[in-house]
Subunit: 195 residues, 2 copies
Amino acid sequence: MNAIDRLVGLLTKLPGIGKKTAGRLAYFILDADPSYARQLAEELQSLHSHIRRCSVCGSFTETDPCTICTDPGRDQHILCVVERAQDVRVIEEGHEYRGRYHVLGGLIAPLDGIGPEKLAIGQLVNRIHRGGITEVILALNPTVEGDTTALYLHKILKETGVQVSRLASGLPVGGDLEYADRLTLSRSFRGRIPM
Amino acid sequence: MNAIDRLVGLLTKLPGIGKKTAGRLAYFILDADPSYARQLAEELQSLHSHIRRCSVCGSFTETDPCTICTDPGRDQHILCVVERAQDVRVIEEGHEYRGRYHVLGGLIAPLDGIGPEKLAIGQLVNRIHRGGITEVILALNPTVEGDTTALYLHKILKETGVQVSRLASGLPVGGDLEYADRLTLSRSFRGRIPM
């Protein structure tokens, strides 16, 4: 196996990258200035030594605790609960939310053997018990696993007295009724907002 | 800018990789075993020192001349002319063609300032003048630039006496007449094959 095949083989392990795309990427890198491959190699080489998990919220960070957990300008009373660290990035790019985060590290999925004990739910409860948090927003995907996890968290967190809400689910902005699936349409009816 | 942002920035330079996809790839690499990032880094680091251009056909190779140019089991009388080195890979994966290759390194595109002198056309003519080649198959994309280049090569190669052909253009296998564009349909009519 030559160097191109080895690179293509590694690239196909990336999500959403099939054999054809991996080939295109590999030839692009070959055709590009060698400094590009070198820079990419250096970033990959040092990635895991630069980035760790924040010990407070569980998101990826260069400093522990992360810059969001230590930013005094952010609302300390609100926690946004997400499935994965990359969800923090997505929400941050929206510039809508100004509170802090808690990364669960997954969703409850009994069929995959993922129970609540495998997620950072104990840490979430501990953070709330430490006080100061008045609202928890569940920003979990509107899927079966997301729904299950949201229900479970709601049950657990009810006892702590904090206000628990979940992101609205319904028609995407710019979407078309005609293309909405039945479940999305049903949710948008149930969650209808008085004008 | 932190390490994740730097990696995402580099990944968005790849063709077809936008900011969202680059983010997904970066977090996948972070979540994966660190050995994956290390292996990928090593392949990228050594890529340009392992791979060079074959001095005969112009495709990417670890040995010069490449394994296709030196394989005695391949037909030396037929040359397949392609635009880019990655086209060799695509055709090889089809396991249909058993001759040799010639990489032009581009297509004639006057609007982009690419004239015949910027392509490996002189080398192609030299290979043919050296003798032994009886047929040249032009495997160029059915685009304006591909058509222009094919016409130009046909004119040049006519004088050498070799037989010149071009890959058939028409409806893709499994395709539907309804979704074929006008030009493809027109080509499939002009290139119709008696049954």
